[in-house]
């Protein structure tokens, strides 16, 4: 019994809201005081609809005057018929060169009516539009209705405009957001101006202000008029309840025009703001910046129109002055308040970027809205908190982030991350770019970019790759699966399995850089290719998806060149067999071939490089697995056998069970084909020994393993019930279980492989010498179990990219001889001289016996000292430098990087193979080879002196070529500037 009382009590409390305000009693303006003037030009295509809308007006203005501005189509006939039928009350004809302002003036007659309603021939008013305007008219003088975009079937109304303002540089600033759905949410408000389409003006104001400004070519004239009215003290407001459907036929170029529609708009905008004090330089800068933006948005026509408009504006200052003269005396501060704040354009751009990021974040973290969500009354009852807590995407990211961080404990310590196929990161950004410049392998360029982005610390990239690689792989797979419509939970489980496979295959633990990148970029490449296959857009928009595919193919192929051959064959097959669009499939492949152009000679010189990953010669010689390959034990990674077996077998059984349940036969065969090809190709590749730059290594097998895993996961996903509920699918549950086991085990057993944080063996002073202008080398030999391991350290190696070529450098064979010399304990008497010739300043020996150290210590020209408990460093006596000045048979090392002055018969030798192509400069002058070649590359030095620079000629072309092409791809991939026509015309609702 108490509930009704309670309800009444609250009803009483809110009774005030139902009370009508006093202003509601102000009677609307009588439509008999309104004259509508509609200017028509070449509107035959839609004039019938416009006239029909006028017929439906209720209330209807006292008079409707149509002004035909020299139409050259059916418009005059239609208007004549309309006049005859009474749709319009008067027809006025003016010349084609008559401006919009003059046309309106002609239509309004000599005596201005009390209220003038301006209509465009493409602005169909809603039946009650005039009624709403007149209802608000008693308290206003200039009223701007709401303009709606043309309606589309099954789409809500979209607000095109509800009054507008203008920035100081002429940018249009709408009162409503662009593309905002009309929910009658816009409130009436004071406004600077708006479109003249549907503008209702008090006759007194119209007369006082002299009507529209003819200096403005049919655009922004409503803004200018409203601005003047505000200054003069007339009240300018929006009336959102009054709506017109504005076809914008001029902007969308439905109305034929000699000039680009943007030209008139921009010229008008420049004159509007120029007449009010914006400087010419600022407008010029703004125009050029906007033109650049239009170019980036792939609209050169807009860019040209922008610049033409500015040129015209600059050439016609009298028009601007005339427009300025129209500005009445008055208080401009009120109008100033209606302008956007300073730097609105910048803030608006940042808002858009932030909004885009948040949209993507929401797409990722929140499950899709289901039909139930939309139709159920409980939609709002589902608390957003609950939705966030169970967000599969966020859960996926959190798990692998935590797992990655937890696994980092094994890498704790001083040193750099190295081991397996992972070479030390360069010391800094400069070294990273030098590595790219020295070798030209595209992956080194990508690594340099990442190293630059990582606060200039390439080492961060190494750590991120190893620790966060699985996380990034999971996110990539999740993104792919969500893009093809897989429900959030199955998508997350499959993505987790993909990331877990990265762990189980041992890619981070083995330092398999290429495998890790493929795991991250592969799903995104597939996603981009699917977008190409399903995209049906036209024009520049149709190149966006191919450009994205090209980028990801470039990334994948940079780390596994064979992917480019596969992609080329695949694209050709799609074009030929499915008669797909040639351009869309050619762009990704051709673009990557072009990007690879500087590197192709190297690839064709070393055909084996196609089959390998990044830094192929960095890998130690590990005998390939036998049958263990089938359980994913490809590289030495320290992953326990039980983990490999349980994960692989579990996933394989789930995939086998699912494969028979994939509904589509084509999909079933496709998945089976992918798995089968991956299995056979991977097993075959594992048997190969490929030659790269004279050294041998193994083909990249992990790429094929990822193909197989991807196929198995695809089988599970494709067989998953369409209702998206994971609990109904045992295969999915099995996949989730094995993924959970792998992820859970990762922090404990994951990083037991060769990758480790390893401090340098060489003492700091050796690195100081090696990195000094002397640029000498250090030979490292470690002896253990009767075997020797050795390497050369200099300022170029070891680091990313030194595994692309013979890691010991050009003197590899000579170093091999030296290593053997040390191994025997009977070092040659000319050892120091040989070391000096090879520019080796230090030799580090580890694991050698005392006798061997003593014997080596007896060699001439060497001193030694302990480097650790087991290691000894031998230093070649005297300064060892890679470059030496030879003067009369006496060689003097260039110790400080500066060649001193000397006589004219001097030569300069560089410790490099005789046939090395070097570029040697002294004091900025390039040296020519000496007439008499010596054992080492010899250059005629003469009297040249100054700073010495030498090295392989750096070819900057590859970097620039790649940058330009990637910029072009980015341009293609960027959103295309929409014209508002085209796509929507097909769906337009018939009025």
């Amino acid at each position: 019994m108490s509930e009704p009382d309670e309800g009444h009590r609250f009803k009483d409390l809110w009774a005030w809201a139902d009370e009508e305000g006093e202003e509601q009693h102000v009677p609307p303006v009588d439509p008999a005081f309104v004259t509508a003037v509609m200017v028509v030009r070449d509107a035959g295509g839609w004039l019938d609809q416009q006239l029909a809308a006028l017929d439906d007006l209720d209330p209807r203005p006292a008079r409707i005057v149509a002004v035909d501005a020299g139409s050259e189509d059916d418009s005059p006939r239609i208007l004549a018929e309309a006049l005859a039928s009474g749709s319009i009350d008067e027809l006025v004809t003016v010349g084609r060169d008559t401006t919009f302002a003059e046309s309106v003036l002609a239509g309004s007659g000599d005596s201005t009516p009390p209220w003038l309603w301006i209509l465009h021939d493409d602005s169909a008013p809603e039946p009650d539009a005039l009624g709403h305007l007149l209802a608000a008219a008693p308290s206003a003088d200039v009223l701007f209705p709401k303009l709606l975009a043309p309606r589309r079937r099954n789409y809500p109304d979209v607000i095109a405009e509800a009054g507008q303002s203008i920035s100081r540089t002429g940018q249009r600033v709408g009162a409503a957001e662009e593309g905002e759905i009309d929910q009658h949410q816009i409130e009436p408000s004071a406004i600077l101006g708006g479109s003249t389409a549907g503008m209702l003006v008090r006759g007194d104001a119209w007369r006082e202000l002299g009507g529209l400004a003819p200096e403005l070519p049919g655009s922004r004239d409503g803004v200018d008029f409203g601005w003047r009215a505000n200054v003069a003290g007339w009240r300018v407001v929006t009336t959102p309840l009054a709506a017109l459907v504005h076809r914008s036929s001029g902007r969308t170029q439905e109305r034929p025009s000699r000039v680009h529609p943007h030209y008139d708009d921009r010229l008008a905008a420049l004159r509007v703001v120029g007449a009010r004090g914006t400087g010419g330089a600022r407008l010029a800068l703004s125009s050029w910046a906007r033109a650049l933006g239009f170019l980036l948005a792939k609209s050169p026509a807009y860019a040209a129109a922008e610049l033409r408009a500015h040129r015209r504006y600059a050439a016609t200052p009298e028009a601007t002055r005339a427009l300025a003269a129209r500005i009445p005396e008055g208080d401009a501060s009120y109008a100033e308040d209606l302008l956007p704040e300073r730097f609105w354009a910048v803030r608006n751009a940042l808002d858009r970027i932030g909004s885009g990021i948040m949209d993507r974040y929401r797409d990722f973290t929140e499950p899709d809205t289901t039909l139930d969500d939309l139709t159920s009354d409980e939609f709002s009852a589902h608390s957003s908190t609950q939705r966030r807590l169970v967000s599969p995407g966020a859960l996926l990211a959190t798990v692998f982030l935590v797992v990655g961080i937890a696994a980092a404990w094994r890498l704790w310590g001083a040193g750099t991350l190295v081991g397996g196929g992972l070479l030390p990161a360069p010391d800094g950004v400069t070294a990273a770019w030098e590595a790219y410049g020295a070798d030209g392998a595209p992956w080194l360029g990508i690594a340099a970019v990442l190293g630059t982005a990582a606060l200039g610390q390439p080492l961060i990239v190494s750590y991120a790759l190893v620790l966060l690689g699985p996380l990034l792989a999971a996110l990539a797979a999740h993104s792919l699966l969500r893009s093809v419509g897989v429900a959030p939970w199955p998508s997350s489980i499959a993505a987790a399995a993909w990331a877990s496979s990265v762990l189980v295959l041992g890619l981070p633990a083995a330092g398999d850089v290429s495998g890790l990148v493929l795991a991250m970029a592969g799903p995104l490449l597939v996603k981009a290719c699917l977008a190409v296959a399903t995209d049906d857009s036209i024009g520049a928009e149709s190149l966006r998806a191919p450009a994205r595919a090209a980028f990801w193919l470039f990334v994948v192929a940079a780390f596994w060149p064979f992917a480019l051959l596969l992609a080329t064959a695949g694209a050709a097959a799609v074009v030929v067999w499915q008669r797909a669009r040639f351009a869309q499939w050619a762009v990704p492949v051709v673009a990557v071939w072009l990007l690879f152009a500087p590197w192709l000679p190297e690839l064709f010189r070393n055909p084996g490089r196609w089959l390998t990953g990044a830094d192929p010669l960095a890998w130690p010689d590990l005998p390939p697995s036998g049958y263990a390959l089938l359980v994913g034990r490809i590289v030495e990674s320290g992953i326990p056998v039980w983990l490999s077996v349980s994960f692989t077998v579990g996933l394989a059984l789930a995939a086998a069970w699912s494969l028979t349940r994939v509904p589509s036969p084509a999909a079933r065969w496709a998945v089976a084909g992918v798995i089968a090809v991956g299995l056979v190709a991977g097993a075959g590749a594992s048997r190969l020994a490929v030659t790269v730059d004279g050294d041998q290594t193994r083909a990249l097998v992990t790429a094929w393993a990822l193909v197989v895993v991807g196929g198995m996961i695809a089988a599970v996903v494709l067989a998953h019930p369409a209702d998206g509920r994971a609990r109904r699918d045992p295969a999915l549950l099995a996949v989730a279980a094995v993924a959970a086991v792998a992820a859970g085990a990762w922090p404990f057993v994951g990083l037991q492989g060769p990758v480790r944080t390893d401090p340098a063996n060489l003492p700091g002073y050796v690195y100081d010498v090696v990195g000094s202008p002397r640029a000498s080398r250090a030979l490292l030999i470690a002896k253990a179990d009767g075997r020797l391991e050795w390497n050369i350290v200099d300022r170029e190696r070891p680091r990313w990219g030194s595994g692309e070529r013979a890691p010991a450098g050009e003197f590899g064979t000579d170093f091999e001889g030296l290593v053997q010399a040390f191994s025997g304990g009977n070092v040659p008497e000319d050892l120091a001289e040989r070391l000096r010739t090879l520019a080796v300043s230090h030799v580090w020996l580890d694991g050698f016996g005392d006798d061997e150290i003593l014997a080596i210590g007896n060699a001439a020209g060497l001193t030694h000292s302990a480097a650790s408990e087991t290691a000894e460093v031998f230093t070649v006596v005297g300064l060892v430098s890679r470059a030496n000045v030879v003067d009369g048979g006496t060689a003097t090392p260039v110790a400080d990087g500066i060649v001193p002055e000397g006589v004219d018969d001097r030569v300069l030798t560089v410790s490099a193979p005789r046939d090395a192509e070097l570029e040697v400069r002294v004091g900025g002058t390039e040296l020519a080879p000496a007439a008499e070649a010596g054992e080492l590359p010899t250059y005629a030095l003469g009297e040249a002196h100054g700073v010495l620079e030498f090295g392989e000629p750096r070819e900057a072309f590859a970097g620039w070529w790649t940058a330009v092409l990637l910029a072009a791809l980015a341009l293609l991939a960027a959103p295309t500037m929409a014209t508002g026509s085209g796509a929507r015309r097909g769906d337009e609702e018939v009025a």
């Binding site: 089976a672 075959g684 390893d758 391991e789 390497n791 070891p798 025997g824 001439a860 001193t863 006596v877």
Partner: protein, 402 residues
């Protein structure tokens, strides 16, 4: 049924992959196998004009320029001469029969000198870079400190005498010299001030030494140097022509730490030719001084080998000592036709070297031998003749090693 065909295809592919995985993988040629260089440099620093007697395997390079087939002799050698080649050996025999053996340049070594009062050290830098040598003197009562023993700098090719008798002051008795190069390397020999009565080459500290070259009728003595910080106990055995004995005075010789000691063993050898074996519980350096008069021959540790070789002066007596476990059946070629010889274990055989300049001695045996040629007081040690073929070690380039 057709639903299972794709699965069957995958299964077939798995079987094929399994079969492929059992095939042997192509080997990767990552390991290098390069024959290490075997050439060695010897520096021969004479103490006066004499004849350089050189031997080796094949050709030797003299002073880095002239190549000569070994063995050969170079009369009139009165300055530093280098020999480079495989297994080189030799020395300079002066006209007064003082033998200055060629030595391998080193960065450290020991000299065991019989008398501090007339001891002089000759340091030679045979290389093209500067060398800096530090000397540590060890007298009978411990380490002797004095000015001028450290930081002795030698320019390339320089040979410098250092009068350690002056540094040692009034130290009486034997003197040990431990030398260490802080830069470069050197050849160091011990001689006497004034007229050179012997040339003692550098040796190493070890727990076992075999010292050949005790001439018949000579009065051998040993100089032992203990460079360690603990007292060393040394025992000596003498390999006479008939057996191995512990000579009088050769048992339980106690050498204080950082000290040198001299042991007269003439009473125990009874004038027999032979060789000594020195055993110690700690590394010691040892030198044999042998001779009947003022002039004495010096021998340091020889390396036992089944092959011995050397270029010895004509008229010398070759001594071969079997340090193996069983009887040695040796084939000896002394410049001419080979002759067979049986040497019982632990005994020393002697035979005349014959005439020649030099006489090329080649010995082959089934037991390890040490040998020396004795001419007057000069002891010319035979070098090991086995030139071991270096065994290439498996070496792999590991690019991540840094």
């Amino acid at each position: 049924m057709h639903r299972f065909l794709p699965l069957g295809t995958v299964a077939t592919a798995a079987v094929v992959a399994l079969a492929i995985s059992f095939t042997p993988a192509q080997p990767i040629e990552r390991y290098t196998s390069v024959t290490p260089p075997r050439d060695v440099l010897l520096a021969c620093q004479p103490v006066g004009a004499g004849t350089l007697l050189a031997d080796g395997d094949g050709e030797l390079t003299v002073d880095g320029a002239e190549q000569r087939g070994a063995p050969f002799s170079l009369p009139g050698t009165d300055r530093l001469t280098t020999l480079r080649g495989i297994a080189p050996s030799g020395g300079v025999l002066t006209d007064d029969r003082t033998w200055a053996p060629c030595q391998r340049p080193a960065t450290s070594g020991f000299l065991a000198l019989p008398a501090a009062a007339d001891a002089e050290v000759r340091i030679t830098n045979p290389d093209n870079t500067d060398a800096s040598i530090d000397l540590t003197l060890l007298g009978p009562d411990g380490e002797v400190t004095g000015l001028g023993a450290r930081g002795i700098v030698l320019s390339p090719g320089e040979s410098r005498p250092v009068a350690v008798s002056v540094i040692a002051g009034d130290v009486q008795g034997p003197l040990g010299v431990a030398w260490q190069a802080s830069r470069g390397r050197a050849v160091v020999a011990g001689i006497t001030t004034g007229g050179v009565t012997h040339v003692a080459p550098s040796g190493a500290a070890d727990m076992s030494h075999v010292l050949p070259g005790v001439a018949k009728g000579s009065r051998p003595s040993l100089v032992l140097v203990n460079p360690g910080v603990d007292r060393a106990t040394v025992s000596v055995r003498f390999h006479s022509p008939t057996n191995t004995i512990i000579p009088e005075g050769g048992q339980e010789i106690s050498v204080p730490p950082r000290s040198a000691a001299s042991v007269d063993l003439s009473a125990g050898t009874a004038g027999d030719p032979g060789a000594f074996t020195v055993q110690s519980d700690l590394p010691v350096a040892a030198a044999l001084y042998s001779g009947a008069g003022e002039r004495r021959g010096v021998a340091v540790a020889a390396v036992p080998d089944v092959e011995l070789t050397g270029a010895v002066p004509g008229g010398a007596t070759v001594q071969l000592t079997n340090v193996g476990e069983g009887p040695a059946d040796a084939t000896v070629r002394l410049g001419g036709s080979p002759q067979s010889l049986r040497i019982e274990p632990g005994t020393t055989a002697t035979l005349p070297a014959g005439d020649g300049e030099p006489v090329h001695v080649e010995v082959g045996s089934n037991q390890p031998l040490v040998g020396a040629a004795v001419l007057g007081e000069a002891i010319v040690a035979l070098a090991p003749g086995s030139v071991a073929e270096p065994q290439p070690v498996e070496a792999e380039l590991v690019p991540s090693l840094r």
